[in-house]
């Protein structure tokens, strides 16, 4: 299997479509999952984000210094593109988030797991500001300082948003079960 670096070099050098397709197939599943989470499960938005991210990535591939792994670099590009889309008014808006967030969720009853919302759905229901910080910190593993740089916010704001996000999730997911007990449904 050709290394990312070889494939990227072929794309930069000669616009090699086969090399790009190999990179795309290798890294898009993770990129698409990130896009879905950042977009709260909005599939058209996630598709747009992934496509825009790849265009930016190929445009900038020649200048990529390989100081990080390609997926890490792609993730950063996707987050920047997500911010662009939000600034353009694309994607789920906060007003809708609030409505969804306050709407009764399918609370778990002791009777059956089919009534429970799972962790993935609960993350989707978070308001955008909470969701992006939660996804980046607790799912993707970025530090608050890195999130601050990526989102253009203070690290303290990131911490505060994360705290709110976790509280919302805990509230949405209990009673009766914890995140761990619900994970099987998602």
């Amino acid at each position: 299997m050709r290394e990312d670096r070889d494939l990227a070099a072929a794309v930069v050098r000669s616009g090699d479509e086969a090399a790009f397709r190999a990179l795309y197939r290798r890294h898009t599943p993770a990129l698409y999952r990130l896009a879905l989470r950042l977009g709260g499960g909005d599939e058209p938005w996630a598709e747009e984000l992934v496509q825009r991210s790849w265009i930016r990535a190929v445009e900038g591939l020649g200048a990529f210094g390989w100081r990080s792994a390609l997926p890490t670099w792609l993730g950063g590009i996707a987050i920047n593109c997500a911010r662009e889309l939000w600034r353009e008014g694309r994607g789920r808006d906060e007003a809708l988030d609030e409505v969804r967030d306050e709407a009764p969720v399918a609370r778990g009853s002791p009777a059956g797991p089919e009534d429970r919302i799972d962790l993935e759905r609960a993350i989707e229901r978070l308001p955008q500001g909470y969701r992006q910080v939660f996804v980046l910190h607790d799912v993707e593993g970025y530090t608050h300082e890195e999130i601050g740089g990526l989102l253009g916010i203070e690290a303290g704001t990131s911490k505060s948003q994360l705290s709110h996000a976790r509280r919302r999730l805990r509230s949405a997911l209990e009673p009766p079960a914890s995140w761990g007990e619900r994970r099987g449904s998602g």
Binding site: E17, A30, L36, E47, V58, D138, V139, E174
Partner: protein, 199 residues
Amino acid sequence: MMRSDDELTPEERDALARLPREADPPAGMEQATVAALAARGLLRRPRRPRRRFDVVLALAASVLLFAGGLALGRLGGGTAPAPPADGRPRFALFLYEGPEYDQPAPGAMDQRVEEYVAWASAKRTDGAVEGGEKLKDGDEVAIEPDGSAGTVPSPPGEARLAGYFLIRAADQRTALEIARSCPHVRYGGRIVVREIEPT
């Protein structure tokens, strides 16, 4: 399980670690991305022998911009599966071209057509796009209430209806998202979205 602090419990960390790290991208997204990159000159398409279907498209390209709609509407035997019958509302996407529309450069029509085809095929695969057509360039003729026919004036600089797509979407917001993703917007075209009255 409300906690007084903000730290994750081991169970919560475990639940997060078990979240899937990947998702299968929709069919057609790869082709749409490749077409978008090729349209920007960032990828070079490998040369391949032309098949009959390609020849039809190439010929259509000389007069038809929205060959994606043509391929869907008339050449129903394309590679994408037929859209599912469902109860989602239908919407019409009216595509307008004004002076700000970035017409393809001479010789670049194939790439533009391919981009529209890729978009429509991808959207057809997930059941969104049902069909579409390019309206032929030429005069617009209107029938007046008295039955007379007359050419509709077309002042320079005014956007003209150039084609349409028919789509299905869960709601208007989704329809708008689909319209936004159409290459027509990226090239400076305007799309008017109208829900179709169920009959």
